[in-house]
């Protein structure tokens, strides 16, 4: 395995970089979009609720690879050409956002309804109540399950390999097929994924523990 790193190190680390970048974009994107659709799902306005529900149910129930392929192959036929990295990252963002929407929705709904009623009685608008009272409380509830989603996201980014996305899995496949050192190569690839996911795992556990023991800060 050491040899693989020595001879193909630059290729592996380049793949690592693309995986990290794609994951980072998708993480930020899916968190924003997912939270938005979670807010749609619990909105007092029915049309928004319907839109939220449809979005979640569609993208949660289609395989990630299919969504990614649609952006890689179908979209370019009608609109602009998209490279593999971008198509894969968009697919990953949309797919993950559906799961994040469900996670955030559940978190918001687990905040006591009295909190919203008190905020509204206090004169706050729905949006102010969400911003100052409900979401800050929901975030703490949502962090552990959200952490799982983010770890899944990093692992799912290997879908880029199918779309020539230059990610870690893509580079691994190339190295394995040129050197035939499949065992060493895929062990090296696995190790590099762990470098991203293990710290995330520990960070989540740390936050979970920290927030369950201490009171609350505004």
């Amino acid at each position: 395995m050491f040899e693989i790193f020595q001879n193909y190190g630059s290729q592996l680390w380049s793949g690592f970089g693309y995986t990290l970048l794609s994951s980072l974009y998708a993480l930020i994107g899916s968190l924003v979009i997912g939270t938005l659709f979670a807010l749609f799902e619990i909105s007092p306005m029915k049309p928004l609720r319907v839109i939220g529900k449809i979005y979640v149910e569609i993208f949660r129930n289609i395989p990630l690879l299919v969504i990614a392929m649609i952006f890689y192959i179908v979209v370019p036929q009608y609109f602009a050409k998209i490279d593999g990295f971008t198509a894969g990252t968009i697919g990953l963002t949309i797919y993950t956002s559906a799961f994040i929407a469900e996670t955030v929705r559940a978190g918001i709904e687990s905040v006591d309804v009295g909190q919203m009623e008190a905020a509204r009685s206090n004169g706050m608008t729905y949006i102010q109540a969400m911003r100052f009272i409900i979401l800050p409380q929901a975030i703490k509830i949502v962090v552990p399950p959200l952490g799982n989603q983010f770890i899944n996201l990093v692992k799912n980014s290997s879908v880029l390999a199918f779309l020539a996305g230059f990610d870690l899995m893509y580079q691994g496949n190339i190295i394995a097929s040129t050197t035939f050192k499949t065992t060493d190569t895929y062990f090296a690839v696995g190790l590099l994924y762990l470098i991203i996911t293990l710290p995330m795992s520990y960070l989540m556990r740390y936050l979970e523990k920290k927030w369950s023991t201490e009171g609350d800060e505004a």
Binding site: R120, S121, G123, F132, P136
Partner: protein
């Protein structure tokens, strides 16, 4: 002048008829207590007043805002009508001080310094000036409820609604909360109080309303006479049970 006016108000939850032909007026500065068995519609009536529940038909005017009109800005109306809940509902993610200052800063756009200054005076009023930096879960129920009252007062409301404010409290905590409410009442605040505290109703209330099965069955200004001799049969039964219980 009247602060709250119900005219022929009906409220349904699906098939359930929660409020039946409610006609009821609260004048400025009046302290009205509402009593009655649970499920009689007392809390629903109270929650309609600040738009937490919408009425199904009839007319409801609060501080000159027509709540039956869909165009009415509920947020504006609520600035002037505070509410104190049975389970306090303090903001769990905010300190006591922040619980009180959030409304004035976010809604009334007051400066932080002014809001904190006023909040400290209110904490003084409710006897909790040493708890400003505590979080709600570090306080007893009675303390939480007094903070909730201070939070409502910080908005300088024209009326305050109390939804069974002492029902979730340990008996030894009730007195402190009632004392604070009495002080506010003496300062001329318009108050509507849903309660099981007959002593408070008798001592502080200007008027007493008895509800059962979604209807107002008795509405009297001679509060002590009501306790001696309620006219309605169900009010008689209710009172005899409550008093026997005591």
């Amino acid at each position: 002048m009247s602060m709250i006016e119900f005219h022929n108000v009906e409220k349904y939850y699906g098939q359930f008829h929660a409020l039946k032909d409610i006609n009821f007026t609260v004048d400025n500065g009046e302290v009205v207590t509402i009593i009655g068995p649970s499920g009689s519609g007392k809390s629903t009536l109270l929650r309609c007043i600040n738009g937490l529940e919408l009425i199904s038909s009839g007319q409801l005017v609060v501080n000159n805002y027509d709540l039956a009109d869909k165009k009415t800005d509920m947020n504006k109306m609520r600035k002037n009508v505070g509410m104190v809940f049975q389970h306090f509902n303090l903001y769990a993610n905010k300190t006591v001080l922040q619980n009180i200052t959030l409304g004035p800063t976010a809604v009334l756009k007051q400066s932080k310094a002014q809001s904190e200054d006023e909040a400290k005076k209110l904490l003084d009023l409710v006897g909790l000036d040493n708890k400003a930096n505590s979080f709600p879960d570090q306080l007893s129920g009675g303390q939480q409820q007094r903070v909730a009252i201070a939070r409502s007062l910080a908005m300088k409301p024209k009326a305050l609604l109390f939804d069974e404010p002492t029902s979730a409290l340990d008996p030894e905590m009730i007195g402190d909360v009632l004392q604070v409410m009495k002080t506010i009442a003496e300062q001329g605040m318009t108050m509507v109080v849903v309660t099981h505290e007959m002593g408070f109703a008798q001592e502080v209330g200007d008027r007493i309303v008895f509800m059962d099965d979604g209807r107002i069955l008795e509405d009297r200004k001679d509060v002590s006479e009501f306790f001696k001799q309620p006219e309605d049969k169900r009010a008689q039964e209710f009172l005899s049970k409550v008093i026997k219980h005591i």
